[in-house]
């Protein structure tokens, strides 16, 4: 079995021996948006112009001493894109106009172009390679290690990096071996709930049924999270391999990728990966001569957040409105078309090949307590370095935000970190020393979630944030059960009263009552977790709620109806704010302190943004 894999590996390495240098252009969605496709094409043009040997694909025909110009998946450092690496040298924010210089200096002479290096904002150090960048130093990249190195559209390179060895091993050693290794590894569902993966597989394996299904949940709907997209785009074969191993372990005949239609590039790359597997005999009948037959196909999501819930997802694949149904029966017993089905998240599945090759014990050696291994987070918000990070579980919030993220964006204090998206909650400053595990997050009223990690500073209003998430859940509620449909709507009504300045103190108690009812009585996780952002901000930032309700004030100015703008003595009377005001609410003589007529002010904040002297305060 392993022979076929080995043959491909050897052949690839032989062909690769002709490659002298490699230029990798990041082809993740973020970098493509920044123009990386044009940069990729410009490199080819430049090589052609100079008559230098290059290739864009590793084949038999590679000339000796060629440069391999390849694309990669998302490297995680999206804010600095488009990213280009020439050998070890790592360039950021590369434009088409830089390409000629890169070829001339870096490729031909080995010189480093300082201008294109990443400058560490804390010490102004220019970083020559990835290893020099603090953002990468503190990470522990396993799943993301090959994202950004290998060409996601070349199955041979994936195999040359050890790919499909895990599958060969699994097929050779049998179902029990796979489940035992998974149990040893302690891997838990990375979609957020943290259910042990081995147990889910074991429960699906047990029922006697000729037909069983395997589903990969790629309906990543959390706003502010893009781990799954990056994995599917950056290393699609790792997820496909995970899907085949999982299918084998539970005895499935068919598997489905359920991917959001909003991720066209992910769909394209996964389809290419599936096609390549069929060609190599890694999918279809009698895989690698093991007697195991298995087919994979893609089904598209269509923009419904609730479809991330497993029973809703199943209903959607069946071609219906994606509404959830009560459990039990669990999908392991009665899933897709009534057959036993296992549904696993993209990141969970991507871990599987590594656990097979390196062993469950290796995996369990990382992490903390019952939360083993690493977790990918999408760190965004008010932090210097935003992007995709992979860290061992058990790392503290402080390490993530300050060491990897580089600290607050504008020097304002980091007020809170939000995890778990619309189903999660906030971690306040007093808990930044807390290790990130499934249990610790739950304890303080948040959840691990799929991996969105949003950093908030003093300029963010926590009531406004809670309202933002709740609006999302109300919008996405499928309407099937009343606690979620009506409860969410009513809860939002109270929050609107608070941000409008019309709420009373006793409303807070009502909020708690509705939230508790929703948590207990909703049909699926969407409704059960929708009040979390409200409850958790209420727990840690009650003073902000009080400020809105009692003082009718929002110190961040986010809640427009409560905002109040005033001009201080710093004003020199330049007249800029007077010009900017769309309603003529500002008056004053030139070179004299101006003032705002509060009855005319519409709280648009134009004056605040215009004033260069910071003479206007809001709050």
């Amino acid at each position: 079995m392993a022979k076929l894999i080995n043959d491909i590996k050897e052949k690839f390495n032989k062909q690769y021996a002709n490659i002298d240098k490699r230029i990798v252009v990041c082809g993740g969605t973020g970098c493509i948006a920044g123009g990386s496709q044009q940069v990729y094409e410009a490199f080819q043009k430049e090589y052609k112009k100079r008559g230098l040997p290059y290739t864009v694909e590793i084949t038999d025909g590679c000339r000796e001493h060629s440069t391999y110009i390849s694309k990669s998946g998302c490297q995680g450092f999206c804010a600095q894109g488009p990213l280009v690496s020439v050998g070890d040298i790592f360039y950021t924010k590369v434009k088409v106009s830089d390409v000629e210089e890169i070829v001339e200096k870096t490729v031909m002479k080995g010189e480093v172009i300082d201008r294109l290096l990443y400058v560490n904002p804390t010490d102004q150090k220019h970083c020559k390679t990835l290893k020099d960048i603090p953002f990468y130093q503190k990470q522990h990249r396993i799943l993301l290690a090959d994202c950004g190195k290998i060409n996601p559209e070349d199955i041979n390179e994936y195999i040359a990096h050890g790919g499909y060895e895990g599958l060969a091993k699994a097929l050779e050693k049998g179902q029990q071996f796979v489940i035992d290794e998974m149990k040893t590894s302690g891997l838990r569902g990375r979609g957020g709930a943290g259910f042990p993966t081995w147990l889910k597989w074991d429960l699906t394996r047990k029922p006697q049924s000729k037909v069983k299904y395997m589903i990969c949940n790629g309906d990543e709907g959390d706003p502010g999270a893009y781990m799954d997209r990056s994995l599917l785009e950056g290393n699609p074969h790792s997820v496909v391999e995970g899907m085949i191993i999982a299918g084998f372990a539970i005895g499935a005949t068919r598997g489905f990728f359920y991917i959001r239609a909003e991720y066209p590039l992910a769909i394209e790359r996964v389809q290419k990966a599936i096609d390549a597997c069929y060609k190599k005999g890694l999918l279809g009948k009698n895989i690698l001569g093991s007697g195991f037959s298995y087919d994979l196909e893609i089904r598209f999501g269509a923009g419904a957040f609730v479809c991330g819930e497993e029973t809703a997802l199943i209903t959607s694949i069946e071609g219906n409105r994606g509404t959830p149904r009560p459990k039990p029966p669990f999908p392991a017993v009665k899933g897709l078309w009534g057959k036993p089905t296992s549904i696993n998240n993209v990141e969970t599945l991507a871990n599987v090949p590594y656990i097979m090759t390196k062993g469950g014990a290796w995996y369990a050696s990382m992490g903390s307590g019952k939360s083993t291994g690493t977790k990918v987070f999408a760190m965004t918000g008010k932090v210097k370095n935003t992007g995709l990070i992979e860290v061992p579980l058990g790392i503290t919030v402080k390490e993530v935000v300050y060491d990897i993220g580089g600290g607050p964006l504008h020097g304002d204090k980091v007020k809170a970190v939000q995890t778990g998206g619309p189903s999660g909650g906030v971690i306040d400053g007093d808990h930044f020393h807390m290790p990130i595990t499934y249990e610790s997050l739950q304890e303080i009223g948040s959840i691990m979630g799929s991996g969105g990690l949003i950093v908030m500073d003093e300029t963010d209003c926590m009531v406004d944030i809670a309202k933002f998430y709740l609006e999302f859940c109300v919008d996405e509620s499928c309407g099937k059960c009343s606690p979620c449909r009506i409860g969410g709507y009513q809860l939002l009504g109270y929050l609107n009263k608070i941000t409008d300045g019309t709420a009373k103190e006793e409303d807070l108690q009502k909020i708690e009552e509705i939230a508790t009812a929703m948590k207990r009585a909703s049909l699926c996780a969407l409704g059960q977790t929708a009040p979390n952002p409200v409850l958790s901000t209420l727990k840690f930032f009650r003073h902000e709620y009080d400020e809105h309700i009692k003082d009718k004030r929002c110190h961040t100015g986010k809640c427009k109806n409560l905002a109040k703008f005033e001009i201080t003595d710093k004003c020199v009377g330049c007249g800029m704010c007077k010009k900017a005001c769309p309603v003529g609410a500002i008056s004053g003589e030139i070179r004299q302190k101006h003032s705002i007529d509060q009855s005319k002010c519409i709280k648009c904040g134009q004056c605040f943004n215009t004033c260069k002297l910071k003479a206007i305060i809001r709050g």
Partner: protein, 158 residues
């Protein structure tokens, strides 16, 4: 897009391709929308006729998923990401700037069919927040002041 014979044939090919596949209604609608830009009533009726799925059920699915469109898309589709990262970094200001330029609020389409403005949930470009896309092309790390330049550029030659 006209309702010429080619279009009709394409739709009937799509239906033929998916008809026998179990649970393929959602996929069929995806294919129709990617061909026509939206799912017109005649196409939904064609699907119903060919597959025997009740028209009401087809509309049940179409209206449930936010991805499906029932009206012809505007010439310039402006989508504004209002995912968390973009929201925090100024998506509401971008929407305001777009309203200033097009006169349209979130969810509206201009009467002449030139512009449509839609707030989208996360498009996964959080590292570039705030982000908008104009006919699929993504523009990131924007300030309200950039909107005019982007839309001027996109509609150049009008």
């Amino acid at each position: 897009m006209s309702q010429g014979t080619n279009t009709r044939e394409d739709i009937s090919d799509i239906i033929k391709k998916w008809k026998k596949v179990e649970g393929s209604l959602v996929m069929m609608l995806h294919s129709v929308q990617s061909r026509l830009g939206y799912v017109p009533r005649w196409a939904a009726m064609e699907i119903s006729k060919e597959t025997g799925i009740a028209l009401a059920k087809i509309y049940e699915v179409l209206t449930f998923y936010s991805f499906f469109k029932l009206t012809k898309p505007a010439k310039y589709q402006i989508n504004v990401c209002i995912g968390t990262a973009c929201y925090l970094k100024g998506a509401p200001e971008l929407l305001k700037a777009i309203e200033k330029y097009t006169g349209l609020k979130d969810g509206q389409t201009s009467e002449d069919g030139k512009f449509s403005v839609m707030g989208l949930r996360c498009i996964g470009c959080c590292g570039l927040a705030p982000v908008i896309s104009v006919n699929g092309k993504i523009h990131g790390q924007l300030k309200a002041g950039d909107i005019k330049t982007i839309l001027d550029e996109a509609t150049k030659g009008e």
